[in-house]
Structures are given as C-alpha cells and as structure tokens.
Symmetry: C2
Subunit: 430 residues, 2 copies
Amino acid sequence: MADNKLVESVKALEKGAMKLSLASDEARSSALLAIAGAIDRNRTLIHEENEKDIEAAGKSGIAKALLHRLEFTDEKIDSAIKGLEELSRLPDPIGKIKEKRELDPGFVLEKVTFPIGVIAMIFEARPDALVQIAGLAIKSGNAVVLKGGKEATLTNRALVSIIKEAALPIVQTDWILGIESHEDVDAILSLDKYIDLVIPRGSNAFVRYVMDHTRIPVIGHADGICSVYIDSDADLEKALAICIDSKVQYPAACNAAETFLVHSAVCEAFLPRLSSAFASLGVKVHADERAIRYFPSAEAAAEDDFRTEYLSLECAVKVVDSEEEAIEHIQEHGSHHTDAIVTENEEHKMEFFSSVDSADVFCNCSTRFADGFRFGLGAEVGISTSKIHARGPVGLDGLMTTKWLLSGNGETVAEYSGKNGRSFHHKELI
Amino acid sequence: MADNKLVESVKALEKGAMKLSLASDEARSSALLAIAGAIDRNRTLIHEENEKDIEAAGKSGIAKALLHRLEFTDEKIDSAIKGLEELSRLPDPIGKIKEKRELDPGFVLEKVTFPIGVIAMIFEARPDALVQIAGLAIKSGNAVVLKGGKEATLTNRALVSIIKEAALPIVQTDWILGIESHEDVDAILSLDKYIDLVIPRGSNAFVRYVMDHTRIPVIGHADGICSVYIDSDADLEKALAICIDSKVQYPAACNAAETFLVHSAVCEAFLPRLSSAFASLGVKVHADERAIRYFPSAEAAAEDDFRTEYLSLECAVKVVDSEEEAIEHIQEHGSHHTDAIVTENEEHKMEFFSSVDSADVFCNCSTRFADGFRFGLGAEVGISTSKIHARGPVGLDGLMTTKWLLSGNGETVAEYSGKNGRSFHHKELI
C-alpha cells in the first residue's frame, strides 16, 4: 500500500494535470524551452551527480552496455536539449477535432482530444529518457510520475528538480513527481484511483510484472519476438538485406527479428547465402531439421527456440512449405509485435497483411522500422502490443483521450421522441 | 477458474475471430440478413421460450419494469430485425485507413482498422439486446461471448442457437458462445489470455464487480451521476426545458441528470419555476440550505445526496456562487459521464468545455442526448467513462483496433543510419 505522503503527492498531480490541460500550447511549449535552458545551465551539477551514479554502478559491477546508457555525456545532453526544442515545435496535441457532426441545424457535436490525466512512466537507467518523457508529458498536458532505473538515482533526482523548477514559473502547478524505490513502484501501481495509465519499459520480466500487478491500464510490450518470412516469390537480394538488417543492425532492440521462416521453394537458392552472411557477421543459428544442413555450425532448434527473444546475435531458422504455414507459425510463436514478409507477389502480401495479427505487419522491409520516429510520429512513448487504446509505436496521440462536446440551443430529447418527433439529420462537418 | 470445456470453447472463438476478420463485408452483411430471416421464421419457437421465461420470472416476483424488458413481443422482434438490416447497410468498419504516410518515395505506411478479436458482453435481461450485440459482433468481425440476464435464459438459448445456425453456412466458423451461469461469468473474467475486451452493462454494483474482477480491459461505466449547471447568463426558458428533459424524459437512463446546480444570480428568477415544474411532475427534491426555501416539500440535502444516482424521479439541487464552484462540484461529486451547462455566454461555455473532465460535456441541451444513436454512431455498444480506448457513447469503432502496415522495396534501417544515411521525408498521404 502507498503511504500517505505519496498518496497526497499523487493527488496533487491529479489537480496539476487539470491545470496543465488548461495551459495554452504556447505556455507548454515555452516551458519546454525553459527546461532545455535550465538543463544547459546546470551541466556541471548534472555531470557531478552522474559521476557519482557511474562510480557506484562501476563498483557494483554492472555490464558495460548498461554503464554506457547511464552516462549522461555532453553529447547526450545536447541531444536531449535538441529533443525538447523539437518537441516544442510539434503541433498542439490538445483540442484536435477528430469528428464533427451536425445532429440537426445548429446542433453540433465534436469529438476533441484531451490529455489523459496522470501517467506513470517506469523506464531503464537512461537519464536522457527522463528528459524525453518529462517533455512528452508537458507537451501533451499530462502530469507524470517518473521512475528511472535505480543506477541513475542521483542523476534523475537532479534532473527532476531542475525540470520542476524551470517549468514552475510558467505552468504554476505540480505536474512531475520522481519516485526512487521499488516499494514506491508497488505503491504507484496500487493507486488506480489517481493514475490513469502506466507505461513500463525495460526487461520482459519487469514489464510483465507491472502488467500483472496493477488495475491501471498499461501500454507496452513484454516480448518482441519478431519474424521475417521469405516467401516463394521473394526477391532474394532484398530478402538477404532485410534478414541481415532485421537481425544485425541493432540486435538488442525489441523490433529486431528473432525468427526467419523460409519457403521450401527458395531454400536451396537462399539459405546458403543467408548462412554465409550470418557466419561472417557472427550470428549464431538454431535451425530446424530441414534448414540445418545449410548452416554448418548451427544447433538443432528446439520448440522453445522459436519462442525466445534472443536480443543478441542469435536466431532461429525454419523451412515452411506454404505461406499459410508461416502465418500459423507466427500466430502461435510470435508476440504480435512486428512481423515481415518478403515477396514480389501482391496476393501473398495482402494475405499476410490480413492474416498476421500483429501491431506492425511489413512487406519488403526490415522489422527494425517499427519505431515512432521512423513512422513519423514525432516522438515515441513506447511500442504497444495491446489491442486496446494504442497499438504499435505510440506517439503523443497515445497520451490523449477524447471528450464529446455538444453545443445546442435548448434542445430536449422529448422533441426528438415519439411518432411526430423531430429526426436527426447527422450531417458530417469534417 | 474456468473448466476445460469452457476454455476450449473460448479458444475456438479465438480462431473463429481470425476467420471472421478475413470474411468480406459482403459475407458479414449477408450473414446479418440470414440471421434476420431466421429470427423472423422462428417467431413461434422464440415466443414459446420467452413465455416460459416470463412465467418463471412472474412467479419469482420480479419488478414490472423488468418483466416488460424481458418480454420479446412481435413488435420488439420486428424492431430487432430492422436493426440487423440497418446494421448490414452500415459501412464496413474493417480496413478503414486512419493514417497514410510515405516515409520515403515508394515506402508507404498505413494505419488500418482491424477487429479486436474476442469480446465478452454481459447485459441485462433483454432478448433484443442479445440480437443487437450479436449483430454488432458479426458486422465488426469480432467473435463474442454473450451472457444475458438470467431471467431470459431460455429465450437467449433459443436465440443463440438460431443465430449460430443461420450464420454458419456463410461465415463457416465458431464466432458466438452463449453462457448462462454466474460461475461461467467468473470463469470468463479469468480468461484474459483469450478474451480481449469485456463490455458489461447492468447495475452499478455489477459493472463495478466486473471491473474489479478481471485483468481484461473493460469498456463501460458504473455510475451515471450527471449534472446540469444553470449559469448566471442562462436563458431561463431553455434552462427549464433542459432541466425537465434531463430529469423526467427517462429517469432510469444513465444519462438522466441527478444534480442541478444553479448560479445565485438567477436562483430568485429560476428556482420558483423549477420548483413548480418539478412539483407538478412528481420529482422529489433534495435541496441544499440556500435552495430549500424554493422547494416547499424538499428534504434538506446531505453530502451523499450529491453522490447518488437516483435513476428515478428524484434529484439534488444546489445554489453556487460561480461557474468555478459549479465545475469544482462536478469534478468532486460527478462520475465523469455527462454534464451540461446552460448559458448564453460563449466564454463561460468554453470554460466549462475545457474544465469539466467528463466523457460528454454539453451546452444548452439535455444530458439525455448522450447516446450512440443520437450522436450518429449508427449503433451503440455502450457508454464508456474510461479514458483509455473509447470514451462516451461507443459505436462500432470501439470494437476495432488498428494495425500498422508498411510496404517497402527492400529498405533497411542501416541505409537510414549514420552521418551519410538517407533521411525520411514523412509525406502525409491523407
């Protein structure tokens, strides 16, 4: 359970969210610039705190890759500042008219976007992520509870305080709360009365833990088991480039491919080429009984290898006899994140697009394109595999809900009822 | 926990949903007409089963209003058939393009609508609701688990069997499952692995029970505590008509008003008129200390009276000194369902529209307009007070998710990376 002080802080955010939702886009955007300026002026302090975090993390012996993410170098600070400036120039996400309909002359219904309220974001030990998330919150008019990875505690504490202070003269309300302990995360997850949405990022196990321990709606994804299917009608040049990019370009990403399904009609022509490319790039292969003869150093794939998110230079390869078999494999083994077909056959493409029930379904390109920036969403909150609210890469839109606004002139339902009642004309205005 | 047979039946729906999502709009719409025809041909059977339900319900002494809802008269059957025919003519909700963007020449991203999958609907003892919900499911390409009020068990069992049989030759899959016991409801609520969305209707207590006992996302609303605020700049003629309609036109509906907030500047001119109108219509009033002198037979309102959904000819009245006070009252006491202001002052209207955080916010019309049919949504699944996925009256759109489809020509992320990488042009195509 949450202690009283935390509950009071979160309750204050609820009121702050309402106030922030009423601030003009100009005010919210100038707060973003004020934050950017304050971060720039406080580099020394930020570096000092970050140094302490790095030293402590070094002593505890964390992996080099994690240490690298933890470091808030001047280059990363520059890029965080640039991100805030870009965010300030994005169109206002509040008050966008999604539907507009005249029910009867002069009786007009609008569906407009509105901030969700209080959002909790839990993320890995990357100080740049904190800056980005705080920026997204203020731009979208939402209050935010932030919990970063524990290795970044001191850096994050300094950043939250700098951000809060810089924005306060403009937004004049509580809208950001940093929490630090695991106990506080559990407490936050129990506050479904005050928190409207949770966005967890991090390890599969952690995201699953969050999903299993809260009644608050969660946007995110636990697994990224993405597949590439090489169809009988694939262009094998494209196929090779796409397989390599999907696996090798950044194997630790959730949108990297883990499974390659190859149609039997092309395996003789394609698998020797894939095999030598993967061998030269150091990709370890788990191959099924029909694929293994093409991969001299592969291990025989067990059923579990097709349900594994390797997140490294490792993958599973299987030969299939039809597109249908490939689709069935993906539906059964994948995580409904991102799956791609390589084919020159328009019918096969459409079959794949209709039948694969994943957030992102691609044809003739790398699975690595599943990303809010590449999709042109301006900014990315995360990638959702939920079918509710937001699916796939989520931009500022995912932080918005809608309101129905109806403007009349004294209309009553009684006038529109019964045999001689008026009827609606429902004229679309957009 | 769910027994194995039920789990198997729900699993079969998961596959059925996928098959239904691939059926053409023509097939789904002709299934609707086949169902309409089968219901028409089976009136005798339906009446027989409905008679048995009514007899049993009469013996158990249920309220007259409930008995009336349970009756599936020929007139109601006619109207259910008409509803199916109208549904068959609505535009196909599957495959609507919501976004379309060229990332780079010939590299096109689309966000298209797609059915959610398996939806569980739990509803009151109204056989016509079963027909409507089954129709919405098939039109939207979703499989559905149906649980109607227990008083309608025999009628519902007959209807499910008629509907299933009529649709089978066309859709050739399992897409509808009727369940009957409370134990089965609990079991269904535990099947978050196979069921994507729950839509409960019925009493507040029941909807709250569902929300508290499942990890499946829920669309709906527990309370409908709606308010009408009569502003200092209200047209009092309109105000009177709106207050009467909001309270009296159908008091058992969730969108009927429960609370009337009247600005002190107009209470002298308005409350005597409201008082005599409510007295002549038999509306019982709970009035605060400033309003009570205008209502000779009112009771003094306790704090709880402003948090009560009366659902009958009963309401609470309060005098406020400012629009701000009215808004604060609504935020604190309302259920974020539907709230209205009566004013001729455009600034006051805009203030109310921005600050009231409810699914529906109205100006100068009755709260009773909060309804999918009146909003022009074609059909209504229910009214949601959730801020996630769908808010307010929910039409077929609320039964859809989206997929991102990306069509390329061999693109890799590597080409778009680094100093000399290609950049995206992100050209909007719609």
